[in-house]
Amino acid sequence: MSDRVERFVYDDRIVRMFLLVTVLWGLVGMAVGVVIALQLVLPVLNFQTSWLSFGRLRPLHTNAVIFAFAGNAIFAGVYYSSQRLLKARMWSDALSRLHFWGWQAIIVAAAVTLPLGYSQSKEYAELEWPIDVAIAVIWVVFAANFFGTLARRRERHLYVALWFYIATLVAIAVLHIFNNLVVVAGPLKSYSIYAGVQDAFMQWWYGHNAVAFFLTTPFLGMMYYFLPKAAERPVYSYRLSILHFWTLIFIYIWAGPHHLHYTALPAWASTLGMLFSVMLWMPSWGGMINGLLTLRGAWSKVTDDPVLKFFVVAVTFYGMSTFEGPLMSIKSVNALSHYTDWTIAHVHAGALGWVGFMVFGMIYWLLPRLFQTELWSKKLAELHFWIGTIGILLYIVAIYAAGLTQGLMFRAFDESGRLAYPDFIETTVRLIPMYWARVLGGALYIAGMVLCAWNVVMTWRRAPAAYAEPVHEAPALDPAYPAEVLAAGFERAAWHRRWEGMPLTFSIWVVVAVVSASLFEIIPMFLIRSNVPTIAAVMPYTPLELAGRDVYLSEGCNNCHSQMVRPIRSETVRYGEYSKPGEFVYDHPFLWGSRRIGPDLQRVGGKYPHLWHVRHMEDPRSTTPQSIMPPYPWLAKRPLDFAAIERGVAAQVTLGVPYTPPQVTGAAELAREQGRQIAQAIIAQGGPQGLEETRLVALIAYLQRLGTDIKKSPATAGGAGRRAEALPQPPPHTEPRR
């Protein structure tokens, strides 16, 4: 350490900015959550309006609460704690502001494009490519500012919270970039470069690790900083925190495939994901115990400090979620929980309990310090805590019950060996009372959020006209590493201590751990042919079917419908032949879904006549009286964009889909012709006229194709690898096939 003492001022203005938008976007994101919860019990609240329909609003809710609410909270926490742990102002005020305004612009762009139906459909990665590029750029800005600050620090040792921040920065960059590699097909349209099984693998490699590195590691970093601050005592065990960190880095990244048990994913990947998930349990509990034991001797403070109350419940929910996650990753448990509300309950226990309460605890701790005045109302904060806690419990208990109920109903057989609930709608209707309880729980939680917002605004109003900017001082860091550590060498196991003081080296090793772990799974998945056996009868989609597929993902149908029949008896009896990996080789992106609010659609092709689909989209309750699906009247009115169809087919060729050149150049005409055939069939069945060039007819073409290829012989199908000259003329479906 140098003898030269330096003076510096922390940039708390940027923390205030991030904190205020955290509250704002929290209100928005949670309000959308309550709206979509209401839509499931009162479908009339879809208002027959495209941009208010469940399928489009659900990704808006998830993106808003994850990237806007939690994201801005992360930035507030990181900017506040990093400056103090490093004894340095952020490297660049300009980069801080660019980061702030860039991130808010991204959020606004998401809030506009998702309701308008611009979506890649991949969960938590729905945003289209221009916004993805902006996210990457702004993330680099954040990283540059953070690492610049590390370089200018006045504290040699990097406290463990900073390790978690470093892991977040590097892992999210890797995950975001590789999951969002696409071929562009228009200003707001793209196709994933991965297909089917491989796309599913990449998505859940991303999806699971987005939870790990966006909703877990930064919040753990904040826990290791803000919990000791609030309790006014150091973390219980620093060694345990180190183990906690490396556990997540080494193990978490492998766990993604547990989201795909019993799907067409190869069993080795699924088993590997399960094994690593189970391994996560104990170290995660080590982290939880470390957090709770930090309060040793300070539990009396919890009774009258709302900040500590929020933190204690948050850490408890962290423990609960990190027990439940490994439990759900066990294949036999997952067979029951997957595609049900059990997953939704698990997610919300983590999101509302762990993430939300960590944010609220941090906000209430920061408010007096950032606004340099007392918290406006401690009682209101206490009320927020109790309302929020009751809201979470109401929400998750009801939705756990819903998940178990539907999971058991899905697989129930009667004494004669038939499905006890053969009509899918029976399993949905049974959940409605629990969905109402969820609305109440969600409403209570957001009511607490409103109280928080009110407290923030009132505290802000009491802030001084000009904030004092305290000047701090600390010795400059000696550029040379302390001689005693250098002399210690590897044999004395000082290497980890050296890393801790060498941010660049440390970060590189984190990258190596994350990337190499990923590659250990990704390389076999992509390069071993036996993982995805091809099926000769599987052909590319016709141009109209491809357009219909784009309508399907634009409307967010995958938020409620899966396309994956698992090799489980109750599913093959209910839906038909189980799904094969080779059926999805032309699916850019995959559309397997993760929740069945409605039935699986993998084998829906040919199940109903075209007219049934017309009536169903117009008013789902006309064909299924108790359906909670929104109506889609606009599909029959909005014309297809034939130029976009041509661009889409051309993009598919770039991805390796074997369309012939005439099929590419004639895509629009081929689509028109198939549209005419389907429209005529609809008229013949007694349906309306004039649908031939609408989005509805494209969607019907796609739905009627789903799952039918494996029923054809390769000779009649043309064969996947033969460029399928017969491809554009699928037989018109005039009658139900079964």
Binding site: V235, I242, A468, V471, E473, A493, H496, R497, S530
Partner: protein, 67 residues
Amino acid sequence: MSLTDVMSGFGLQLFAELGLVLFGGAFLAIVVTTFLRRNREHFERARFLPLEDEAGAPLTGERASHE
């Protein structure tokens, strides 16, 4: 012959198991290092860093200098 054909012949199904062993070993090395007695003092000091960050400061309520 495509890259997939070549890679398929390498028996890379063992790749993931190999990764499990390597990562398990690396993790064990960190566990051992973390709990070595000679590092105790270092970690004990690091434990207190969040509580030290305001120590001795602020000097004044005014902006004296920027970095």
